[in-house]
Protein backbone atom coordinates (compact mmCIF):
# COMPACT_ATOMS: atom_id res chain seq x y z
CA UNK A 1 0.00 0.00 0.00
CA UNK A 2 1.46 3.36 -0.98
CA UNK A 3 1.93 6.08 1.63
CA UNK A 4 -0.07 9.29 1.34
CA UNK A 5 1.88 12.23 -0.10
CA UNK A 6 3.70 14.58 2.23
CA UNK A 7 1.67 17.67 3.22
CA UNK A 8 3.57 19.91 0.81
CA UNK A 9 2.46 17.70 -2.09
CA UNK A 10 -1.26 17.91 -1.22
CA UNK A 11 -3.21 20.70 -2.93
CA UNK A 12 -5.66 21.12 -0.09
CA UNK A 13 -2.86 21.54 2.46
CA UNK A 14 -1.11 24.07 0.21
CA UNK A 15 -4.35 25.98 -0.27
CA UNK A 16 -4.85 26.08 3.50
CA UNK A 17 -1.39 27.59 3.87
CA UNK A 18 -1.15 29.94 0.90
CA UNK A 19 -4.59 30.68 -0.59
CA UNK A 20 -5.32 33.85 1.39
CA UNK A 21 -1.84 35.22 0.67
CA UNK A 22 -2.16 34.48 -3.06
CA UNK A 23 -5.68 35.96 -3.10
CA UNK A 24 -4.39 39.19 -1.58
CA UNK A 25 -1.54 39.39 -4.10
CA UNK A 26 -3.87 38.85 -7.05
CA UNK A 27 -6.13 41.65 -5.79
CA UNK A 28 -3.13 43.94 -5.24
CA UNK A 29 -1.98 43.27 -8.81
CA UNK A 30 -5.48 43.90 -10.16
CA UNK A 31 -5.72 47.16 -8.24
CA UNK A 32 -2.27 48.19 -9.54
CA UNK A 33 -3.39 47.60 -13.14
CA UNK A 34 -6.58 49.60 -12.47
CA UNK A 35 -4.46 52.40 -11.00
CA UNK A 36 -2.34 52.43 -14.15
CA UNK A 37 -5.48 52.62 -16.29
CA UNK A 38 -6.59 55.71 -14.41
CA UNK A 39 -3.21 57.38 -14.84
CA UNK A 40 -1.80 59.20 -17.87
CA UNK A 41 1.40 58.83 -19.88
CA UNK A 42 3.27 56.16 -21.77
CA UNK A 43 4.21 52.81 -20.26
CA UNK A 44 7.89 52.07 -19.90
CA UNK A 45 9.69 48.72 -20.29
CA UNK A 46 8.91 47.69 -16.71
CA UNK A 47 5.18 47.87 -17.20
CA UNK A 48 5.35 46.26 -20.63
CA UNK A 49 7.37 43.39 -19.10
CA UNK A 50 4.86 43.02 -16.29
CA UNK A 51 1.96 42.78 -18.72
CA UNK A 52 3.87 40.21 -20.79
CA UNK A 53 4.39 38.13 -17.66
CA UNK A 54 0.64 37.98 -17.07
CA UNK A 55 0.30 35.88 -20.21
CA UNK A 56 2.85 33.41 -18.82
CA UNK A 57 0.93 33.22 -15.56
CA UNK A 58 -2.18 32.09 -17.37
CA UNK A 59 -0.75 29.78 -20.04
CA UNK A 60 -1.24 26.65 -17.95
CA UNK A 61 2.35 25.46 -18.42
CA UNK A 62 4.75 24.55 -15.62
CA UNK A 63 7.75 26.49 -14.29
CA UNK A 64 5.99 29.84 -14.38
CA UNK A 65 8.39 31.50 -11.91
CA UNK A 66 11.46 30.45 -13.91
CA UNK A 67 9.93 31.45 -17.23
CA UNK A 68 8.80 34.85 -15.97
CA UNK A 69 12.24 35.59 -14.52
CA UNK A 70 13.82 34.57 -17.83
CA UNK A 71 11.42 36.84 -19.73
CA UNK A 72 12.61 39.79 -17.62
CA UNK A 73 16.33 38.92 -18.04
CA UNK A 74 19.01 40.39 -20.27
CA UNK A 75 19.45 37.73 -23.00
CA UNK A 76 22.78 39.06 -24.30
CA UNK A 77 26.02 37.24 -23.65
CA UNK A 78 28.88 39.74 -24.09
CA UNK A 79 30.13 41.75 -21.09
CA UNK A 80 28.92 45.37 -21.06
CA UNK A 81 31.59 47.92 -22.10
CA UNK A 82 31.07 49.77 -18.78
CA UNK A 83 28.84 49.43 -15.76
CA UNK A 84 27.08 52.78 -16.10
CA UNK A 85 24.68 52.96 -13.18
CA UNK A 86 24.84 50.54 -10.25
CA UNK A 87 21.13 49.76 -10.12
CA UNK A 88 18.75 47.43 -11.92
CA UNK A 89 15.14 48.15 -12.88
CA UNK A 90 13.63 44.66 -12.64
CA UNK A 91 13.21 44.05 -16.36
CA UNK A 92 15.57 44.22 -19.32
CA UNK A 93 14.84 47.44 -21.24
CA UNK A 94 15.41 45.74 -24.58
CA UNK A 95 12.68 43.17 -24.09
Amino acid sequence: MSRPPEPWRRREALADLYYMDARARVLDLAAFLDRLDRAEGAEDHRLRSLRAALALLADGKEDRARRILESWSDPTTDPAPAAGSKGATGAWPGA
Binding site: A13, R66, L69, S73, D74, P79, A80, K86, A88
Partner: protein, 273 residues
Amino acid sequence: MRYVEPHAHMVSRTTDDYRAMALSGCAAVCEPAFWAGFDRCSADGFRDYFRQLTETEPARAARFGLPHFAWLCLNPKESEDLGLAEDVLALIPEFLSRPNVLGIGEIGLNKNSRNELRVLERHVQIAVERDRLILVHTPHLEDKLKGTRLILDVLRAHGVKPGRALVDHVEEHTVRLVLDAGHWGGITLYPESKATPARAIDMVERYAAERLWLNSACDWGHSEPLAVPRAALEMRRRGHSAAAVDALVYGNPVRFLSQVPGFRVAEGADLAP
Protein backbone atom coordinates in the same frame (compact mmCIF):
# COMPACT_ATOMS: atom_id res chain seq x y z
CA MET B 1 15.98 25.25 16.62
CA ARG B 2 19.54 26.00 15.59
CA TYR B 3 20.77 27.66 12.41
CA VAL B 4 23.78 29.34 10.88
CA GLU B 5 23.42 32.77 9.28
CA PRO B 6 25.89 32.37 6.43
CA HIS B 7 25.46 35.84 4.92
CA ALA B 8 24.73 38.94 6.99
CA HIS B 9 26.14 42.46 6.76
CA MET B 10 26.23 43.10 10.46
CA VAL B 11 28.17 46.35 10.15
CA SER B 12 24.79 47.77 9.08
CA ARG B 13 22.79 46.19 11.90
CA THR B 14 22.17 47.06 15.52
CA THR B 15 23.27 45.21 18.61
CA ASP B 16 19.60 44.33 19.13
CA ASP B 17 19.77 42.31 15.91
CA TYR B 18 22.69 40.26 17.27
CA ARG B 19 20.65 39.58 20.39
CA ALA B 20 17.55 38.60 18.39
CA MET B 21 19.60 36.23 16.25
CA ALA B 22 21.17 34.58 19.29
CA LEU B 23 17.73 34.23 20.91
CA SER B 24 16.43 32.60 17.72
CA GLY B 25 19.05 29.85 17.73
CA CYS B 26 21.81 31.34 15.60
CA ALA B 27 24.99 29.30 16.05
CA ALA B 28 27.37 31.39 13.94
CA VAL B 29 27.23 34.43 11.70
CA CYS B 30 29.26 35.00 8.54
CA GLU B 31 29.78 38.42 7.03
CA PRO B 32 30.93 38.99 3.44
CA ALA B 33 32.55 42.26 2.43
CA PHE B 34 30.10 44.41 0.47
CA TRP B 35 29.29 47.85 -0.85
CA ALA B 36 28.76 50.48 1.84
CA GLY B 37 26.10 52.36 -0.13
CA PHE B 38 28.71 54.79 -1.43
CA ASP B 39 32.00 54.39 -3.27
CA ARG B 40 35.03 54.54 -0.99
CA CYS B 41 37.72 57.03 -2.04
CA SER B 42 40.81 54.95 -1.40
CA ALA B 43 42.19 51.61 -0.26
CA ASP B 44 42.58 53.07 3.23
CA GLY B 45 38.80 52.94 3.58
CA PHE B 46 38.95 49.23 2.83
CA ARG B 47 41.75 48.64 5.33
CA ASP B 48 39.52 50.11 8.03
CA TYR B 49 36.56 48.09 6.76
CA PHE B 50 38.55 44.84 6.84
CA ARG B 51 39.56 45.65 10.42
CA GLN B 52 35.92 46.24 11.27
CA LEU B 53 34.99 42.86 9.74
CA THR B 54 37.75 40.90 11.44
CA GLU B 55 38.04 42.70 14.80
CA THR B 56 35.05 44.88 15.69
CA GLU B 57 32.16 42.70 14.51
CA PRO B 58 33.53 39.50 16.08
CA ALA B 59 33.72 41.40 19.39
CA ARG B 60 30.11 42.63 19.05
CA ALA B 61 28.91 39.11 18.21
CA ALA B 62 30.88 37.54 21.05
CA ARG B 63 28.80 39.50 23.57
CA PHE B 64 25.96 37.15 22.66
CA GLY B 65 28.05 33.98 22.37
CA LEU B 66 28.00 34.14 18.59
CA PRO B 67 31.12 33.18 16.62
CA HIS B 68 31.58 35.66 13.77
CA PHE B 69 33.48 35.04 10.53
CA ALA B 70 34.28 37.25 7.55
CA TRP B 71 34.79 37.03 3.80
CA LEU B 72 37.05 39.64 2.19
CA CYS B 73 37.04 41.33 -1.19
CA LEU B 74 36.24 44.44 -3.17
CA ASN B 75 32.54 44.31 -4.00
CA PRO B 76 31.68 44.30 -7.73
CA LYS B 77 29.82 47.60 -7.32
CA GLU B 78 33.24 49.23 -6.76
CA SER B 79 35.07 47.27 -9.45
CA GLU B 80 34.83 49.80 -12.27
CA ASP B 81 37.86 51.70 -10.94
CA LEU B 82 40.66 49.28 -11.80
CA GLY B 83 43.30 51.35 -10.00
CA LEU B 84 41.36 51.26 -6.73
CA ALA B 85 40.67 47.56 -7.27
CA GLU B 86 44.39 46.74 -7.57
CA ASP B 87 45.15 48.71 -4.38
CA VAL B 88 42.46 46.81 -2.47
CA LEU B 89 43.47 43.45 -3.90
CA ALA B 90 46.99 44.10 -2.60
CA LEU B 91 45.57 44.48 0.93
CA ILE B 92 43.65 41.23 1.00
CA PRO B 93 46.50 38.72 1.58
CA GLU B 94 47.49 40.50 4.78
CA PHE B 95 44.01 39.90 6.23
CA LEU B 96 43.37 36.47 4.72
CA SER B 97 45.60 34.76 7.25
CA ARG B 98 43.42 35.84 10.16
CA PRO B 99 41.74 32.79 11.73
CA ASN B 100 38.21 34.22 11.46
CA VAL B 101 38.45 34.82 7.70
CA LEU B 102 36.61 32.23 5.61
CA GLY B 103 37.88 33.17 2.16
CA ILE B 104 37.23 35.53 -0.75
CA GLY B 105 33.76 37.06 -1.01
CA GLU B 106 31.31 38.27 -1.89
CA ILE B 107 32.93 38.73 -5.25
CA GLY B 108 31.00 38.54 -8.50
CA LEU B 109 29.31 40.87 -10.91
CA ASN B 110 26.80 43.71 -10.66
CA LYS B 111 26.23 45.15 -14.15
CA ASN B 112 28.23 42.46 -15.97
CA SER B 113 30.82 44.93 -17.22
CA ARG B 114 34.28 44.19 -18.59
CA ASN B 115 36.02 45.79 -15.61
CA GLU B 116 33.84 43.91 -13.14
CA LEU B 117 34.79 40.72 -14.95
CA ARG B 118 38.51 41.55 -14.78
CA VAL B 119 38.33 42.21 -11.04
CA LEU B 120 36.31 39.05 -10.50
CA GLU B 121 39.06 37.07 -12.25
CA ARG B 122 41.75 38.67 -10.09
CA HIS B 123 39.85 37.69 -6.94
CA VAL B 124 39.40 34.14 -8.18
CA GLN B 125 43.13 33.95 -8.91
CA ILE B 126 43.93 34.92 -5.32
CA ALA B 127 41.52 32.33 -3.97
CA VAL B 128 42.84 29.55 -6.20
CA GLU B 129 46.50 30.37 -5.47
CA ARG B 130 45.80 30.20 -1.73
CA ASP B 131 43.23 27.39 -1.91
CA ARG B 132 40.58 29.51 -0.18
CA LEU B 133 36.80 29.20 -0.31
CA ILE B 134 34.88 31.54 -2.61
CA LEU B 135 31.52 33.25 -2.04
CA VAL B 136 30.03 34.73 -5.20
CA HIS B 137 27.38 37.45 -5.45
CA THR B 138 25.20 37.20 -8.55
CA PRO B 139 23.73 40.38 -10.05
CA HIS B 140 20.31 41.79 -9.30
CA LEU B 141 17.07 41.37 -11.21
CA GLU B 142 17.39 41.51 -15.02
CA ASP B 143 21.19 41.15 -14.84
CA LYS B 144 21.22 37.94 -12.79
CA LEU B 145 20.86 35.31 -15.51
CA LYS B 146 23.56 36.72 -17.79
CA GLY B 147 25.84 37.42 -14.83
CA THR B 148 25.45 33.94 -13.42
CA ARG B 149 26.49 32.43 -16.75
CA LEU B 150 29.54 34.73 -16.97
CA ILE B 151 30.52 33.90 -13.38
CA LEU B 152 30.25 30.15 -13.92
CA ASP B 153 32.48 30.52 -17.00
CA VAL B 154 35.13 32.33 -14.90
CA LEU B 155 35.05 29.71 -12.12
CA ARG B 156 35.40 26.94 -14.69
CA ALA B 157 38.20 28.69 -16.61
CA HIS B 158 40.22 29.18 -13.43
CA GLY B 159 39.86 25.58 -12.33
CA VAL B 160 37.92 26.32 -9.14
CA LYS B 161 36.92 23.08 -7.46
CA PRO B 162 33.09 23.23 -7.60
CA GLY B 163 32.66 22.25 -3.96
CA ARG B 164 34.87 25.17 -2.87
CA ALA B 165 32.61 27.89 -4.28
CA LEU B 166 29.12 28.96 -3.26
CA VAL B 167 27.16 31.03 -5.77
CA ASP B 168 24.70 33.19 -3.90
CA HIS B 169 21.31 34.82 -4.54
CA VAL B 170 20.09 32.05 -6.84
CA GLU B 171 16.49 32.15 -8.02
CA GLU B 172 14.33 29.83 -10.08
CA HIS B 173 16.09 30.74 -13.35
CA THR B 174 19.65 30.29 -12.04
CA VAL B 175 19.52 27.58 -9.37
CA ARG B 176 19.86 24.71 -11.85
CA LEU B 177 22.81 26.35 -13.64
CA VAL B 178 24.72 26.63 -10.35
CA LEU B 179 23.93 23.18 -9.01
CA ASP B 180 24.55 21.46 -12.34
CA ALA B 181 28.03 23.05 -12.36
CA GLY B 182 28.66 21.28 -9.03
CA HIS B 183 28.76 24.42 -6.90
CA TRP B 184 26.82 25.21 -3.78
CA GLY B 185 23.90 27.62 -4.10
CA GLY B 186 22.70 30.27 -1.69
CA ILE B 187 19.08 31.42 -1.56
CA THR B 188 18.62 34.92 -0.17
CA LEU B 189 15.39 35.80 1.62
CA TYR B 190 14.38 39.39 0.95
CA PRO B 191 11.03 41.13 1.40
CA GLU B 192 10.86 42.39 -2.21
CA SER B 193 13.63 41.09 -4.45
CA LYS B 194 15.44 37.73 -4.54
CA ALA B 195 13.31 35.00 -2.86
CA THR B 196 10.46 34.78 -0.37
CA PRO B 197 10.50 31.93 2.16
CA ALA B 198 7.79 30.11 0.16
CA ARG B 199 9.77 30.30 -3.10
CA ALA B 200 12.97 29.31 -1.32
CA ILE B 201 11.37 26.18 0.07
CA ASP B 202 9.92 25.39 -3.37
CA MET B 203 13.48 25.38 -4.73
CA VAL B 204 14.71 23.23 -1.84
CA GLU B 205 11.95 20.70 -2.52
CA ARG B 206 12.75 20.56 -6.24
CA TYR B 207 16.54 20.65 -6.41
CA ALA B 208 19.68 19.37 -4.67
CA ALA B 209 18.78 20.39 -1.13
CA GLU B 210 22.09 19.06 0.18
CA ARG B 211 24.02 21.82 -1.64
CA LEU B 212 21.73 24.75 -0.85
CA TRP B 213 21.71 27.15 2.06
CA LEU B 214 19.40 29.97 3.11
CA ASN B 215 20.59 33.41 4.16
CA SER B 216 19.12 36.76 5.10
CA ALA B 217 21.86 38.93 3.53
CA CYS B 218 20.55 41.56 5.94
CA ASP B 219 22.16 44.94 5.37
CA TRP B 220 21.17 48.62 5.32
CA GLY B 221 18.37 48.04 2.79
CA HIS B 222 15.01 46.27 3.05
CA SER B 223 16.05 43.05 4.76
CA GLU B 224 15.22 40.90 7.75
CA PRO B 225 17.95 39.57 10.08
CA LEU B 226 15.67 36.73 11.25
CA ALA B 227 14.73 35.66 7.73
CA VAL B 228 16.38 32.24 8.06
CA PRO B 229 14.51 31.13 11.21
CA ARG B 230 11.30 32.53 9.71
CA ALA B 231 11.84 30.39 6.61
CA ALA B 232 12.58 27.41 8.83
CA LEU B 233 9.23 27.95 10.52
CA GLU B 234 7.57 28.17 7.12
CA MET B 235 9.16 24.86 6.17
CA ARG B 236 7.79 23.23 9.33
CA ARG B 237 4.31 24.67 8.63
CA ARG B 238 4.49 23.06 5.21
CA GLY B 239 5.00 19.69 6.89
CA HIS B 240 8.73 19.10 6.58
CA SER B 241 10.39 17.22 9.44
CA ALA B 242 12.49 18.94 12.07
CA ALA B 243 15.46 16.90 10.81
CA ALA B 244 15.02 18.19 7.24
CA VAL B 245 14.84 21.78 8.47
CA ASP B 246 17.91 21.29 10.65
CA ALA B 247 19.84 19.81 7.71
CA LEU B 248 19.04 22.85 5.57
CA VAL B 249 19.56 25.74 7.96
CA TYR B 250 22.31 24.25 10.11
CA GLY B 251 23.83 21.12 8.58
CA ASN B 252 24.42 22.46 5.09
CA PRO B 253 26.21 25.70 6.01
CA VAL B 254 28.27 23.89 8.64
CA ARG B 255 29.31 21.30 6.03
CA PHE B 256 30.41 23.93 3.51
CA LEU B 257 32.06 26.26 6.00
CA SER B 258 33.85 23.45 7.87
CA GLN B 259 36.21 23.29 4.91
CA VAL B 260 37.83 26.22 6.72
CA PRO B 261 39.81 24.82 9.67
CA GLY B 262 38.97 27.74 11.97
CA PHE B 263 35.20 27.63 11.49
CA ARG B 264 33.22 26.72 14.59
CA VAL B 265 29.71 27.12 15.95
CA ALA B 266 28.55 28.45 19.33
CA GLU B 267 29.33 26.25 22.28
CA GLY B 268 26.83 23.40 22.50
CA ALA B 269 25.22 24.09 19.13
CA ASP B 270 26.97 21.10 17.59
CA LEU B 271 25.14 18.74 19.92
CA ALA B 272 22.16 17.09 18.24
CA PRO B 273 18.97 19.14 18.79
